[in-house]
Amino acid sequence: MSIRALNIHKTFGNYKALDDVSLEVPEGRLVSLLGPSGSGKTTVLRILAGLEFPDPKTGATIEFHGEDVTNLSAGKRGVGFVFQHYALFKHMTIERNIGFGLRAKPRRERPGDEAIAARVKELLELVQLDGLGKRYPSELSGGQRQRIALARALASQPKVLLLDEPFGALDAKVRKDLRRWLRLFQEEIKITTVFVTHDQEEALELADEVVVMNNARIAQVGAPQDVYDNPVSPFVIEFLGNVNRFTAGVSKPSKSQATEGKSVLYVRPHDVDIRLTDENPHDYAIRSKIQHIFSAGNYARISLDRIGYNEPFEAEISREKLRQLDLKVGMIVSVVFRHIRVFAKGQFKESNVREDGQLVEVAG
C-alpha cells in the first residue's frame, strides 16, 4: 500500500511544526524520516497514523494506495504504529498485548478465541520470541519489548507500518542488531514502512529512501547513497556523515574558485589524503600537524591542525596506510583534499584535486 501525503501544514499554538511537507512512499518500500530533534518527524508520523490531523483549510491530503484517508480516524486507517517507549499495555500479558487489536475489532470481523491464539503464536514466532507469551512487559528486556510492540502493531495485518524512533531507548549494540533484523523482516513481509530516527547511520543503513527534515520542512529526499553523495544544502552535508567545514578564503583551494560573498568549503574525512612532507608537494598540499590518532576496525581517525591557521580537521585513512606511513602524534604531514565541495551562492560546486596538483571541476 503506497502512501502519499501532500501539503501538510501543522501548527501548535503559534508554533509551526510542519510547513508544507509532502511525502511519497511507494508500495513495499522502507523510507526513513531523518532530522534533528524538533524538526517535526514525529508530527509527520502521527499525522500519517491519524493520531494528529493537519491544519484545516490548508489543502492537505493523505492517501493510502490512492484512497483518501485524510479525515479517517486512527483506528480506521489500518496502520501499525510502534512507539519509541514501546507503549505496551503494562497490566496485560504479552499474548493479550499482541491480541489486543484483534479483540478490539467490531463483532462481525472479530476472530474467535482460537483464531486469535493462533495468530498470536504466529506473531511471537515471527518476532522470534515464542514462549514469552505468558509474561508481562515488565519481565522483558528493552529489545524484546520493542519486538513485542512490533508484533502487536502487525497483528491486524496493517497496510502501513510506522515506527517512531523504535530503537531510540536501546543501547548501541542491541540497536544495531535490531536494525538489521528489522531490515530483513521488512524485506520479507514487504510492508510499506516509514521509520523515524535522528540517527543518520540508522537511516542510511536501513532505508530505501531517506527524507531529511529540518525546521519543519523537508530538506532533501533521495536514496541514501545519493543524499550522502549529492547533498543539496549545507544542512544536509553537515547532518549526514562527518564532514570538515572551512570558511572561505582561509583555505587555498577555495581561493581559486572566484568566490563572492560567503562561501564554505566542505571535505569528507575520507577524502583527506595524508602524505609525508618530503613527498613532492604541490599547490594544494597543506602542512598540518597530527594531534590525535584513533583507530578502531579498518579505519583510523586522525585529528589534524593546519599549521599557522589553527584550523582543526579530521582525516579517515585505512589502518593499512596508517601503518605504511608510520604516523605518530606530533608529526608534521602534508595533506591533500582529494574531493572538495564549495557552497556559494546557494549551490555546491564539486572539484577533485588530481595527483599532479591540478584542480578539476566535477561537472553536474
Binding site: A49, G50, L51, S73, A74, G75, K76, R77, V79, G80, F81, F83, H85, A87, L88, F89, K90, H91, F100, G101, A104, K105, V127, Q128, Y136, S138, E139, L140, S141, G142, G143, Q144, A149, R152, A153, A155, S156, V174, D177, R180, W181, R183, L184, Q200, E201, L204, E205, L206, Q225, Y228, D229, G241, N242, R268, H270, N298, Y299, E316, S318
Partner: protein, 321 residues
C-alpha cells in the same frame, strides 16, 4: 596540623550519607517535638475515644446499638456514602481525564475550581445549598414547592452537600497517576482500532486502579465523617436527617457520653481501616513499580535467518576509493 586536617575531613564528609545533617541534639529535639505532637493530637484522642466508649463495660457499649435513632443514623450515613461515593467516582474519573489527557484554554482554572471545596468552609458550603434549594426563601423555592420536592432538611440535601465536600478527593488522587501514565498506551490502543470506551476500560482504568481505589476510600471516609455542611442542610432531625456525626454530637450534648463515644469509635475504626488500606495500596504500587524497573537481562537475540552477506554494509559511509 594533622589534627586540623582530619577535622576538616570529618566536617566535609559527615558519617551519615545524608547531605543535610543537624547536630545530634537538635535532631533529637525535633523528633521529640514531632512525637509529642503526634501523641497529643492524634494518638491520645483516638485512645480516649475507645476508653470513654468502654468506660462502663462492653454491655453498655453494645446497648448503644439498640437505640433506634443510632441505627437510623448509621443507616443514613451508609446511604449517603452509597450515593455520594459513586457520583464522585464518575466525576473524579471524568475530571482527571479531562485535566490530564487534553490541553486547552482555561484548564488551570478548572484545576483551581476543583480545589474549591477544600478552600471553602463546610458551613458556608452548606449555607449556599440552603440559599439555593430552601423551599421558604431559596432561589428555586417556587418550582420546588410546585413539584413538592424537598431537598433541604432531607436526604437529597445531605447527599448534595456531601458530594460537594468530597468532590476533589478522587480527582486529586487520579491526576498525578494519570499524568505519570502519559498518553502513549492510549494512542497505541487507538491505532489498534479500539474505540474510546474500550480504551478507557481496558487500558486507562487498569493503569490507575490503585490510585482510584485510594481516592475512593478517602472519599468514603470523608463522606461518612462530614459534619459542618451536613449540619446546615440536614436540620438534624433525629431518626430522619441525623447522620452519624450529627447524632454523636446530639448524644454528647445530651450528656450521653458512653453512647456518643461508642458511635465515635465506629468512625474511628473507619479511619483506622482507611489508613490500613492506604498502606496496602502504597505497598502494591511500590511493588508494581519495582517490577517495571526490573531490568532483566533476558535479551536473547534471534539467530539470523539469512546469510550475513545479505546484511547491509557495516559502515554507514560509502567505501573509500
Amino acid at each position: 596540623m594533622a589534627a586540623i586536617l582530619s577535622r576538616v575531613r570529618h566536617d566535609t564528609y559527615p558519617k551519615t550519607d545524608n547531605a543535610i545533617t543537624e547536630p545530634r541534639l537538635i535532631r533529637w529535639l525535633l523528633i521529640l517535638v514531632a512525637i509529642s505532637f503526634l501523641g497529643l493530637f492524634l494518638f491520645m484522642p483516638l485512645v480516649a475515644v475507645f476508653v470513654e466508649a468502654f468506660k462502663q463495660g462492653t454491655k453498655l457499649y453494645f446497648a448503644t446499638f439498640e437505640d433506634k435513632y443510632a441505627v437510623d443514623a448509621i443507616l443514613l450515613t451508609l446511604k449517603i456514602a452509597a450515593i455520594s461515593v459513586p457520583l464522585n467516582l464518575v466525576f473524579g474519573l471524568a475530571a482527571a481525564w479531562v485535566i490530564t489527557k487534553f490541553s486547552y484554554r482555561g484548564k488551570s482554572l478548572l484545576v483551581t475550581v476543583l480545589d474549591l471545596p477544600f478552600a471553602v468552609s463546610p458551613v458556608i458550603a452548606g449555607l449556599i445549598f440552603v440559599l439555593i434549594f430552601s423551599t421558604t426563601h431559596g432561589w428555586l423555592a417556587e418550582p420546588l414547592k410546585e413539584y413538592n420536592i424537598r431537598i433541604i432538611f432531607a436526604l437529597p440535601g445531605i447527599a448534595l452537600a456531601t458530594v460537594f465536600i468530597t468532590l476533589p478527593f478522587i480527582a486529586r488522587e487520579l491526576v498525578p497517576v494519570m499524568q505519570a501514565q502519559g498518553k502513549d498506551e492510549e494512542f497505541a490502543a487507538l491505532t489498534l482500532g479500539a474505540g474510546g470506551w474500550r480504551t478507557f476500560f481496558t487500558v486507562t482504568l487498569p493503569n490507575v486502579k490503585w490510585g482510584l481505589f485510594y481516592g475512593v476510600i478517602l472519599c468514603n471516609a470523608r463522606a461518612m465523617g462530614e459534619f459542618g455542611a451536613v449540619a446546615v442542610v440536614s436540620g438534624n432531625i433525629k431518626g430522619r436527617t441525623s447522620t452519624l456525626p450529627l447524632y454523636i454530637e446530639t448524644l454528647y450534648n445530651e450528656y450521653n457520653g458512653v453512647a456518643a463515644f461508642t458511635l465515635a469509635s465506629i468512625l474511628s475504626l473507619l479511619a483506622l481501616l482507611t489508613l490500613v488500606l492506604k498502606n496496602f495500596v502504597d505497598w502494591r504500587v511500590a511493588k508494581s513499580r519495582n517490577n517495571q524497573d526490573l531490568n532483566l537481562s533476558l535479551f536473547t537475540f534471534p539467530p539470523f535467518t539469512r546469510p550475513l552477506a545479505a546484511l547491509p554494509h557495516e559502515h554507514p559511509c560509502p567505501q573509500h576509493p
